[in-house]
């Protein structure tokens, strides 16, 4: 198929960017979206033009490194996939496709389609863990976990930290990302002990870093490549309120 691409080009974080139009012919439908961009880049290099910079690594939908805003949707038109798993089967001959980076105050553009998502790491560093040192643990089966809670924890833990939730939210809120980690740990007996402090520290950090508020539009859930449920946000809000109330009582 033959395509017209409108791609965001920006030299670095301080320069201004703009959409640039490219024609690309001979794209086949079994190619992934990123392989289509590889094809474009190979052509640009041979024509002495600067190739398009985009983040990617595992190319099997699990590392969370890729993430493009494709014709108005995070990770493109298919449901439950990352950009690297999006096949060109989802497009047709003659299509014009707009490709932009994640847009959010907390994610600055590094170059072209590459953004800085280190804010997510800083939120995890603020408390997204169970405080256990190597070596100080009981036998694994001495901590029974109900299958239900274990499955719910796994559902939440499946988050790949790609940032699609933030990019899809009109407020650039990170609530789905943060609540997924809060839920994963809170649902397990091992994680209960620090639950109150964890949720407060993580939410505080999230606010500090410039992510917006949640106004329950649920766009994040729709665009999440791992289909993380917004019920995690409800669980986090409950946990947060509980932590605040209990703190005031003490």
């Amino acid at each position: 198929m033959n395509l017209t691409l409108k791609i965001w080009r920006q030299k670095n974080s301080t320069s201004k960017g703009k959409l640039v139009k490219y024609k690309l012919d001979g794209v086949s439908e079994e190619m992934s979206f990123l392989e289509m961009l590889d094809m474009l880049n190979e052509q640009l290099i041979l024509q002495d033009q600067d190739p398009v910079a985009f983040d990617n690594d595992c190319r099997e939908g699990i590392c969370g490194m890729c993430g493009l805003y494709i014709s108005g949707r995070a990770h493109g038109p298919d449901v439950g996939v990352t950009t690297c798993q999006l096949t060109m089967r989802n497009f047709k001959d003659g299509d014009t496709i707009t490709v932009e980076p994640w847009r959010a105050k907390a994610f600055t553009v590094i170059k072209d389609l590459v953004v800085d998502r280190s804010a997510f790491d800083r939120i995890i560093q603020a408390g997204g863990y169970i405080s256990v040192n190597t070596g100080s643990m009981p036998d694994a089966n001495s901590i029974p976990v109900s299958k239900r809670n274990s499955d719910l924890a796994m559902d939440a833990a499946a988050c790949i930290g790609c940032g699609a939730c933030v990019a899809s939210c009109k407020n650039a809120s990170a609530m789905l990302f943060v609540s997924a980690k809060v839920s994963h740990l809170e649902l397990l007996p091992q994680g209960k002990i620090e639950a109150a402090e964890r949720v407060q520290n993580m939410v505080k950090k999230m606010d500090e870093l410039g992510f917006g508020n949640c106004t329950n539009t649920y766009a994040c859930e729709v665009e999440c490549p791992k289909q993380i449920s917004v019920s995690n946000i409800a669980r986090m809000n409950r946990e947060f309120l509980h932590a605040k109330v209990c703190k005031e009582k003490h």
Partner: protein
């Protein structure tokens, strides 16, 4: 005379590690604060090592090329992690896990290391559960297990089809906690371009900041490489796009010996290649072989749909050839068997380079819901890529490069031949011999990082408590930095006519054809000359656009490819010298009448450790493998 001292502790096999731990030198908490350790890579081995060393009180500097340590390629491991817990009461033990691993590796791994790996495996599961890793559980709340290739017990712990992800996020959370406590400083988007040696000891690294292009110096008392494998030498592999061998290759060129480079693992169950633009191969977890049955039509060139081929016209060739293990034979055996059928003309799909992996029987027996629960994410991934529904029609699969057993030579302490330079996880050679069993890579990465290195590094660092800070102004840093800059300058100024990928694809084709699943003397000899020609072509004609001092993906790729080309030659050289077949290394000249790998224990029961020799051919050093607790036997999965 060998220069290799493996430093295996004395005593009975089962007591070695305990004895070692009781007498190893310690570093006091006050002194640990004065010692810096660099950790390169944040996969299972790197993240667990950095976190554990940070907890102990060392000053850790951790590096990764990705934008976040959470993205290292351990994350893509699907099926599970082995441990000898015997929770299923099916006769498992530390000794059995040890035997299975040695046997699975076709008797080319070091006994003492493998025994230690099996011994600490149980603690890994405890540690991960304590961190909140959501392993699969049964209705009573206990941990569940599944079976994997090369074992007759169920010892594999798993978190759906995302075990690697969950274990890595566990290690990442431990690492994040230490970053918050400031015991670990994290440097993301950095590529390590050289190792700095001062007075014979590893004392630092030269890194490139991948955002700004700046060349940076970092010093430390010890350097730990946990930078993963080199499967991308083959261009198409299941590795991540930027997984690379640069750090280990630079270490080799600074004096670290490279062991068994030809031991590469071709994984039997991957989605077949379609088209020239394909950039990577996607694995379908080995766990699928628990319930999937592998077959090809009994008739050559059978063009019927799989559903139209009746039962008695199907050849379940693994069940036929290996009745005892059936579809759960080790990976090397399964891959070769698939190649054999396809070479003989029984392959399926448009390329004829595929076999069926069929779930119809399992769905009939267990119901669709159970299969969904076990493998839904894998089935979904398959459908997205191929546009076929594996609940209704069998998957088409074919072997692909997946893992490398070879890597930097390390002694029992995980130290390379360069004092103070350690190698952990996939980038060392020590535990998997000539073939790795499924669910053992995760085990090894975490064993090395959580439970081995934190003990063994103390032995080395205890002698360094009076050294003081290592200055990055030392002439050795300056020299290394200048070398790095010179190479980068050279790359960007070639301004040739071929892209990095064009040359990389050529390298991949040479390696896959002559040094893939089947190897022979004529082909390997030819490969060496082809690689030499390609090296010349690369340095004459590669085109690297852009500038040095900016975000420049093509420049990163060019540097990695330059190292792959050199490493490829060493891989082929090693394959050529090893005149036997073992594990993943199948020399067509050496096979049994049934077409199985034929080892030569009399002449090749050793680790081949290659020593860099500048412009001359590398030197071969041999570490003889002594098997004291296990009898060397022809592997038999029949």
């Amino acid at each position: 005379m060998t220069k290799l001292d493996s430093k295996i502790p004395g005593g009975n096999l089962a007591d070695k590690w305990t004895n070692y731990k009781s007498v190893v030198s310690l570093v006091s908490p006050a002194n640990k604060m004065k010692l810096d350790v660099i950790v390169v890579g944040t996969g299972l081995a790197g993240a667990s090592a950095a976190a554990s060393l940070g907890e102990l009180g060392y000053n850790v500097k951790a590096f990764c090329y990705q934008d976040s340590p959470r993205r290292a390629h351990s994350i893509a491991a699907q099926g599970g992690i082995n441990a000898a817990k015997n929770y299923q009461n099916d006769g498992d033990s530390v000794y059995r896990l040890f035997v299975d691993t040695i046997k699975g590796g076709d008797y080319r791994a070091r006994e003492a290391n493998v025994y230690r790996l099996a011994e600490v495996s149980n603690m890994i599961i405890d540690q991960c559960v304590a961190q909140g890793v959501p392993f699969a559980r049964d209705y009573g709340g206990s941990l569940d297990n599944r079976s994997f290739g090369g074992a007759q017990v169920s010892r594999t712990f798993y978190a759906r089809g995302q075990t690697g992800q969950q274990l890595l996020l566990g290690a990442y959370s431990a690492l994040s906690r230490q970053i918050n406590k400031k015991t670990v400083t994290m440097y993301s988007r950095r590529e390590i371009l050289d190792i700095v040696i001062i007075d014979g000891k590893a004392r630092g690294v030269i890194a490139r900041n991948l955002i700004t292009g700046e060349i940076e110096r970092y010093s430390a008392h010890a350097v730990v490489l946990a930078s993963g494998g080199y499967g991308n030498v083959f261009y198409l592999s299941t590795n991540a796009m930027a997984s690379n061998a640069t750090a280990v290759w630079k270490a080799y060129k600074k004096g670290a010996f490279f062991a068994n480079p030809c031991f590469t693992q071709i994984h039997p169950t991957c989605i077949p290649v379609v088209g020239e633009n394909q950039s990577k191969l996607t694995l379908m977890s080995e766990s699928l072989r628990n319930d999937g049955r592998i077959w090809v039509p009994k008739n050559k060139d059978d063009r019927r749909k799989p559903a139209d081929i009746p039962e008695d016209e199907r050849d379940y060739y693994l069940e036929r050839r290996y009745p005892a293990f059936g579809n759960l034979v080790p990976r090397d055996v399964a891959s070769r068997a698939a190649k054999e059928r396809c070479d003989a003309g029984y392959g399926v799909g448009s390329s004829k380079l595929a076999v069926y992996l069929d779930f119809a029987d399992a769905i009939k027996r267990l119901g669709k819901k159970v299969i969904e629960e076990r493998y839904s994410n894998l089935f979904q991934m398959y459908e997205k890529i191929t546009d076929e529904n594996p609940y209704e029609t069998p998957m088409r699969i074919f072997p692909a490069v997946h893992y490398v057993m070879g890597g930097l030579w390390v002694n029992y302490n995980l130290m390379t031949t360069v004092p103070g330079l350690y190698a952990l996880g996939e980038c060392n050679f020590s535990d998997h011999g000539a073939n790795r069993l499924g669910a053992s890579a995760l085990m090894q990465g975490l064993a090395d990082g959580y439970f081995v290195l934190p003990y063994t590094i103390g032995e080395y660092l205890s002698a360094d408590i009076r050294t003081g800070k290592i200055s990055s102004e030392h002439p050795a840093f300056k020299e290394a930095e200048e070398n790095v800059k010179e190479i980068l300058n050279k790359l960007i100024n070639i301004k040739g006519s071929k892209t990095v990928d064009q040359i990389h694809k050529k390298l991949g084709k040479i390696m896959w054809e002559y040094c893939g699943m089947g190897r022979n003397e004529a082909g390997l000899t030819k490969a060496i000359s082809l690689i030499k020609e390609l090296k010349e072509e690369f340095w004459k004609d590669v085109k690297v656009p852009g500038e040095l001092n900016e975000f420049n993906t093509e420049l990163e790729k060019a540097g990695r490819l330059a190292d792959y080309i050199e490493l490829a030659e060493l891989i082929v050289r090693d394959a050529l010298h090893r005149k036997e077949s073992c594990g993943g290394h199948f020399r067509e000249e050496f096979q049994t009448e049934e077409g199985e790998a034929k080892r030569d224990d009399e002449h090749f029961a050793y680790v081949a450790a290659w020593e860099y020799n500048f412009d001359d051919e590398p030197l071969l050093n041999k570490e003889p493998l002594k098997f004291e607790s296990i009898e060397l036997k022809q592997r038999n999965y029949k």
